[in-house]
């Protein structure tokens, strides 16, 4: 097992990613209120929670508008994830959108932001703080529960690192192509080809996970988005690389021409991936004014899985590449033996 430590590390990292990434619950959150519009006067509505613990300990609820709070009457708990809130809405909230907050002994403060369209606006109310003091026991690791994303947030540990792995393999391919240009080595050419083949596999994985994710969150299998265009161009470039190789019978010439194309295309592709996001808006987090995942990963629970996932997937990609390369080498040797 000489030199195999990194493979063991890869397996352990990916095991960790799969187990922790899929088993960690989402943080408790409010997902729905039965009313979407409030007016001054008494109002009663049901709130729906996700992974909440309304039945354990006392539950407090309040409305919040522009930092001013209105406390509710005692909350009627219906189930762990359902409760009925009754509150008297005052006249004179400042902002048109009002949030609802719930505090439970186990989950702490959780909010449904901008839950209600608000009528009867004015210059503000005389609010009182409603949040109870004292500690709450939220235990263990939990991922942020975001609207729309919800449980699919776990795909972050698969979809994104797969692209990183693809880029890592393409970088290896370019490095091997540079070796071809310097030495004319056919072995380096074979390695470049193996890296490209493996990177296309990871591109396919990245596209599949991304397409499924887009269907669930954005509502379409494919959207017009700079990142998607970038990945499409990348796949086209490497498909063209394979076509170019296929059209040249002579091995040495094929190695050289393919290496030239690989270096040229890779460099321009990097420029493309840098320029493109500035040309058009993107639905991707961290682009086009969307917040990146890091902005709501307040307790770094996502990072704790994401960074190992990046290392693990890149490790797996390198492993797949070395296996492909060795298989190709054996095939070449078998071919030679057969010819002799």
């Amino acid at each position: 097992m000489k030199g195999g430590w990194w493979k063991i590390g890869t397996v352990l990292l990916l095991l960790y990613v799969v187990i922790v990434g899929l088993r960690t619950p989402l943080a408790p959150a409010l997902v729905h209120a039965s009313v979407d519009r409030i007016a001054p006067g008494p109002v009663s509505f049901d709130i729906k929670g996700y992974n909440t613990h309304f039945t354990e300990g006392s539950v407090t609820a309040w409305l919040e508008n522009d930092g001013q709070q209105v406390c509710s009457a005692p909350v009627e708990v219906l189930a762990d994830d359902r409760a009925r809130v009754t509150v008297t809405v005052p006249q004179g909230f400042r902002k048109p959108l009002t949030s609802v907050w719930v505090f439970t002994a186990k989950d702490g403060p959780i909010a449904l932001h901008d839950a209600f369209f608000t009528e009867g606006l004015g210059d503000g109310i005389t609010g009182t703080p409603c949040r109870p003091g004292g500690k709450y026991l939220r235990s263990g690791l939990a991922f942020p529960d975001r609207a729309i994303l919800n449980e699919t947030i776990r795909n972050l540990f698969f979809h994104v690192p797969m692209w990183f792995a693809m880029m890592a393999l393409m970088t290896i391919a370019v490095w091997q192509s540079v070796r071809v240009l310097r030495s004319g080595s056919l072995e380096a050419d074979r390695s470049a080809l193996s890296a490209v083949h493996t990177s296309l596999l990871f591109a396919a994985l990245g596209l599949t996970t991304g397409s499924l994710w887009a269907r669930v969150t954005w509502g379409g299998w494919w959207t017009s988005d700079p990142k998607l265009n970038g990945s499409a161009v990348t796949v086209l470039i490497y498909a063209a690389y394979l076509v170019l190789r296929g059209s040249i019978p002579d091995a040495h010439k094929r190695a050289r021409l393919a290496a030239v194309y690989n270096v040229f295309a890779y460099a321009l592709m990097l420029v493309f991936l840098m320029v493109l996001p500035r040309l058009t808006d993107s639905l991707h987090p961290g682009n086009g004014g969307n917040p990146a995942f890091s902005t709501y990963d307040l307790d770094s629970s996502l990072r704790a899985v994401f960074y190992p996932a990046v290392l693990g997937w890149i490790g797996l990609a390198c492993w797949a590449y070395t296996l492909t390369d060795r298989t190709e080498r054996l095939n070449a040797l078998a071919h030679e033996a057969h010819d002799r």
């Binding site: 240009l181 265009n229 161009v233 086209l236 470039i237 063209a240 076509v243 170019l244 059209s247 040249i248 010439k253 050289r256 021409l257 290496a259 030239v260 194309y261 270096v263 040229f264 295309a265 460099a267 321009l268 592709m269 420029v271 493309f272 320029v275 493109l276 040309l279």
Partner: protein, 222 residues
């Protein structure tokens, strides 16, 4: 870098082209017929985004058609002869420069034919100077990126088909920035807005030429 050598090579290209006047004719005819086919399809266009997109598609394919020629016209013998006379880096720089000049002429011709047949309504409220500059920079940019690809396709012994496969994904970033810049110019936005995209265009050109300069010697030797 040998300026004199590049000058000689440029003159050689010019003389070769003068001797084969049909080459120029065929390029011009290609553009005009493409525009005419578009005209049969759409008649007059006044919708700016569509006008813009169709124009750049015409220029792009004219570029592919014109630039594919630049390495295909020589047979093995003449190539060997050139090889003994000039350094490969001078050859690629001269070809790129010559192709850039060709594209300047060709994109202006495309613009003229396109405005004549498809209509010049979108040009009325445009920043005309910026738009023409974008057209010229776009044409030059295609030449800068596609010259090395033309050399590759010719070396692979395959024609314009392989060139399109190899070149389209690579030229796409440039096409997107140039379409964006020309759309902004057509909408009448000032140079301060369009300039950013033109800056990227020049940057991509510079990178492409530097890469071609680095890589071409490996293509040249056999």
């Amino acid at each position: 870098m040998r300026t004199a050598e590049i000058g000689h090579l440029l003159r050689l290209e010019w003389q070769l082209d003068r001797r084969q006047k049909h080459a120029w004719g065929s390029m011009a005819l290609y553009v005009v017929s493409t525009v005419y086919v578009c005209y049969q399809g759409v008649r007059h266009l006044s919708d700016v985004p569509v006008w813009n997109a169709l124009f750049w598609i015409v220029v792009l394919f004219a570029a592919f058609n014109a630039l594919a020629r630049s390495f295909q016209r020589e047979d093995a013998g003449r190539q060997l002869y050139l090889h003994t006379l000039a350094s490969p880096r001078s050859v690629i720089l001269a070809r790129t420069l010559y192709n850039a000049l060709t594209m300047v002429a060709l994109s202006l011709l495309s613009l003229g034919a396109y405005a004549l047949f498809i209509g010049d309504r979108p040009l009325e409220q445009a920043q005309l100077g910026t738009f023409v500059a974008t057209v010229l920079l776009g044409g030059i940019g295609f030449a800068m990126v596609l010259t090395l690809i033309a050399a590759l396709a010719a070396r692979a012994g395959n024609g314009i088909g392989l060139m399109a496969i190899l070149g389209l994904p690579i030229v796409l970033p440039m096409l997107l920035s140039v379409m964006k810049a020309s759309k902004l110019a057509l909408d009448g936005l000032p140079l301060s807005v369009t300039g950013q995209y033109l800056g990227w265009l020049v940057a991509i050109d510079a990178i492409a030429v530097a890469l071609a300069w680095l890589l071409f010697p490996y293509l040249w030797r056999d």
